[in-house]
Symmetry: C2
Subunit: 355 residues, 2 copies
């Protein structure tokens, strides 16, 4: 039989919650004992009988510990932060899936934050994670080359790490921070090689935002490798645009408007490639008959579509897992660690061998 609850002072709008002391009272033990019974406190035991009583009381009161209070008392939360640019983007959601899985495995949960495509908000989100006292944060996404922006980010990261959190970035490396690096240059170069091998000699590029690191890495490596292999990439055939479907579409439109249409167009990511496909179709340009198209990322939902899009696969699972591993292992002492995730060319119908 439970006696009347003492009038607790609750902020307005709050509902009475059952606390550990309620459980203790119901079980007729002290708060300390209740806590120990529930947590199996280390190097300390509580009589099985008592333990049972406490557990039963907790059960019948539908007690759940308050994670915030636990975090305070223990001095650490059980959450890991994940910062992305757009969770709806398959690239990020693929990484998010892996991170979520990894966190789950070790009993952590993830706090998701999205810059909503505004890279200059990254540092704000890092600050948010600091406020939240997340154990670790994983930053996914290409940072811009803008030095001021990066300085702000580093600054925020510094504060975060000073507070004891560990950090890992995935995508483009960040000097001094544990990074999982996706081999964009290697993949782009390999793609260029594969296209040359298939008989293409002229190429255009849908290059993404000029300052976007990842886009730049892919674009430059592709161009260099294609030229090094004997192919031609006209400067006027390198068009920039947003890293989005619309960006790809308008860039493709611009490119197709130029004379000397290249034999193949490389979009620096699949989403842009899709936009390009659409633009081509709208203009009556057939793919791959009139122009071949290749992308980058190998978005999962695009596999096995006809005609298949030639692209470069990024093992997102591997990348996400690696990032989680780096972040959750904590800072491994001195040097910033670096993991390389290799990419792989996937040839499909959008770039058939040329006669």
């Amino acid at each position: 039989m439970t006696d009347v609850l003492p009038a607790r002072r609750y902020p307005p709008g709050m509902v009475a919650r059952v606390t550990l002391s309620d459980v203790a009272r119901a079980a007729g033990v002290s708060l300390a004992t209740a806590s120990r019974a529930l947590n199996g406190s280390s190097n300390r035991t509580v009589q099985p009988a008592l333990r049972e009583r406490v557990l039963a009381a907790a059960e019948s009161l539908r007690y759940t510990p308050d994670a915030n209070a636990q975090a305070m008392a223990r001095g650490a939360t059980s959450s890991v932060g994940l910062i992305v640019h757009d969770i709806a983007d398959p690239y990020f959601s693929g990484i998010a899936a892996a991170v979520t899985r990894a966190a789950d495995r070790v009993g952590l949960h993830v706090t998701l934050a999205s810059t909503q495509h505004q890279p200059d908000r990254e540092h704000e989100l890092v600050a948010l994670m600091r406020r939240l006292r997340t154990r670790a944060v994983i930053i996914a996404g290409g940072r811009m080359a803008d030095p001021e922006r990066e300085a702000r980010l580093r600054d925020a990261l510094g504060d975060l790490m000073a507070a004891g959190a560990s950090v890992a970035v995935v995508g483009q490396p960040l000097e001094g921070i544990d990074s999982v690096v996706i081999d964009n240059p290697g993949g782009a170069a390999a793609l260029a090689g594969a296209l040359l091998e298939r008989g293409y000699t002229t190429a255009g590029v849908l290059g993404g935002p000029p300052e976007h690191q990842t886009a730049r890495a892919r674009r430059e490596s592709f161009v260099d490798a294609f030229r090094a292999g004997g192919g031609t990439v006209g400067e006027e055939h390198v068009v920039h645009g947003l890293f989005t479907w619309e960006g790809g579409a308008s860039a493709m439109e611009a490119l197709l408007g130029r004379p000397d249409r290249p034999q193949v167009v490389f979009a620096v990511n699949d989403v842009m490639a899709l936009g390009a496909l659409s633009a081509a179709r709208a203009l009556g340009v057939r793919v791959p008959d009139d122009v071949a198209v290749a992308g980058f990322d190998d978005i999962v939902t695009l596999r096995d579509v006809v005609p298949g899009l030639t692209t470069v696969r990024i093992p997102l699972d591997e990348a996400g897992e690696a990032a989680a591993e780096l972040a959750l292992d904590g800072m491994g002492g001195g040097e910033a660690r670096r993991r390389l995730v290799r990419t792989e060319v996937v040839l499909r119908e959008s770039t058939p061998p040329r006669a």
Copy 2:
């Protein structure tokens, strides 16, 4: 000039953090004043000069409030929980994007949890959210019809709501809970009608897990409407499988193995449809020449692929926003509210008009 920090008791492994009292000391004011200066406490003012001093001190100490402590003191966190089955699935990530955006707008952050395709873990995640004391939780995803499972979920939800959190589900409605309902039956029926109109008279269905509510709604509505419109759907042409790419592939394989191949196959979601496409290709069955295929969801990355997949579009943005709105408005008093999100048939090349 700061004097020596008093030795604070920190759990092992912890780093000293700058707290509000450090700020107060540095500014030469009391803790209360510091708090008020920082928060602009209601119906209470602090002298502009003092306020400045505190702000400056906080700034120079790189102080950030501890969200956990604030949550304790205020009695409420600033987080909203989102429960999905697989964040890598475009359906869920689309909703997640909208929810994230909505939460962000009102200064909340989202805690993401994934069942990893195990619907019977939903109630665990609800319990997790309760521990975390999230202000609200949004559950996305088709719940199974399994009564025991649903009972557990309801149970967990009851505890959650008793603790003062509001909850909303999106997808399939849940009796007594604020729900945003996606008009699956309407969409499936409309699709059936559109196919009949294009001249199809026999159809097969790739039906997802038998107990899956959403799958069932789409399947049954489609079958009913197709038959009602004069078409034929043989019982043997309704195949079940997992709600995944592989599920679609193997279901398609099974279906194509039967005699009397139907003219069109309706997969209850796009991902399954893709698997089906792949299986067809592997078996040498051409789409749409030998068999037409339609899906459901209109996954964003599938738009404008050739041949386009006929499907039913779900406005994920709208659904996510609506869910967030329901959840964040709190429980609107008595009746559980319900929002209907209409779907729209999108006809593409995978189901050309029949001669």
